[in-house]
Symmetry: C2
Subunit: 246 residues, 2 copies
DNA sequence: TTGCTCCTCACGTCACGTGAGGTGGC
DNA sequence: TTGCTCCTCACGTCACGTGAGGTGGC
């Protein structure tokens, strides 16, 4: 009793959508009038509304079709799955909305909140932007490659930064960037680093700013060394002293 | 400092997604190492997270790219549009979820709640399923083709059904379905219909069950007549009497 | 050496949208 | 008669997914 256009407007879909549902066997083809036009009944409208509800809930059309042949019990079970799925999707959209609002105010959270706070702290301690950038890269890499171990490693590094004496070593390391590789202050700093490293970690060859036990420290250290001849010299001195006294 | 796979896992996308974003110019291609592998930095990760947030919010990728070139003001305006859009989408998903739950309990609302109630009422008045089916089709058609006028027309029909005497005419019409076309009760019923129609609507040629002023009554009447010879005879009798006495 | 990751095409997929070219209804 | 709707192909689109066939890293 309805044309395809009337049915489409009533249900709120395009005529193409209805034709696609016919082609895919979701909605049976209705009768045609003498001129070949499709004629729909109230039953068709009710069916289409059901199909649309499922499709809008994100159910793939292929599954909608198989659902038509399902028992009442299967149907009910599937519907409750779809319901849970919808709840999850709504939650994810809300999360996206919150992230979008952070994005609007310029806050883009790259790392857990406590790590971001720690990185902000570094600035107030007097570290350079270059150093903070390196630290951001380091923690990003750690969280990207070792998400399980990352939190523990961060706790340790966080405690190191709470100790003013240890913090001072890192500050000197940061400032050493622009020194000449032959500067006499470099061997002195290297010795301090070795001493404090031994005190905290025993004989393990951990260098400051390095945390994960895999290839990551080497990777970061390569980057660090490439940035400054003084840093490269410092790395050599520390390595030599650590292995010599082992 | 990250490989494409590490970056993908960290942000929660596929490697293909990242490559597509490169191809579409959303995310600049990073440096390659000696073996041609892409190497990503923290800045790339931050950029990808921004792009992903927008994409998950439903922003077309083409618009995400143009947004990179937008001023801070345009950017903020666009973000608030997207935010509103997200709110609307969340609301629509919730509506879908409610409809889905109605579907689970077998309630599929085809028409406004008051019309559905009216159709349920008809059953308790003693109307046949056939009649109720016809009424459902009728109101579906009216709401599909004349949504603005539908509510008023329905109010009128609803009042008609509140009058026990008028209701009785419709009940007799319903029951006449199985009479022979020559049954002497048909001319009597036709006269009652004409009398009550005149009382309610004056000389306008409105037949019971017909409401909208366009092609709809004719369409429904054709369907009705095709269903029963007695109904067809009744229609002829009523038409003749209404025009004869005009 | 072996499994895992990466590379670049190229084609597939899902749910429609968009003409093209023609006919029917008011 | 004219604009609107309908018909059937056929191709386009959006955001990726999925091999194919090959190389690099641990």
């Amino acid at each position: 009793v309805l044309s395809i256009g009337q049915l489409a407007r009533y249900v709120g879909v395009s005529t193409k959508t209805i034709r696609v549902y016919h082609d895919k066997g979701l909605l049976p083809e209705p009768h045609r009038d003498r001129s070949g036009y499709r004629r729909y009944t109230a039953q068709d409208a009710a069916e289409l509304i059901k199909i649309r509800t499922l499709a809008e809930a994100g159910v793939p059309l292929a599954r909608v079709r198989t659902l038509r042949a399902a028992t009442a019990d299967e149907f009910r079970t599937t519907l409750s799955e779809i319901d849970n799925d919808l709840t999850a999707r709504i939650d994810r959209l809300r999360t996206t909305q919150h992230r979008l609002r952070d994005l609007a105010t310029g806050k883009t959270r790259l790392l857990p909140a406590d790590v971001e706070r720690y990185l902000d702290q570094l600035r107030s301690y007097g570290f350079s932007s270059r150093w903070i950038g390196l630290q951001t890269d380091l923690w990003l890499l750690v969280y990207a490659t070792h998400p399980e171990a990352a939190a523990d490693l961060f706790q340790d590094q966080s405690h190191v930064m709470d100790d003013p004496e240890l913090r001072d070593i890192f500050l000197d390391y940061d400032r050493a960037h622009d020194l000449a590789p032959t500067d006499p202050r470099l061997p002195k700093l290297a010795s301090r680093i070795v001493r404090e490293t031994r005190r905290r970690y025993g004989t393990v060859d951990q260098l400051p700013g390095q945390a994960a036990g895999s290839a990551i420290p080497a990777l970061i250290q390569d980057t660090v060394n490439a940035m400054s001849p003084a840093w490269q010299r410092l790395d050599t001195l520390v390595r030599t002293e650590l292995t010599r006294n082992d």
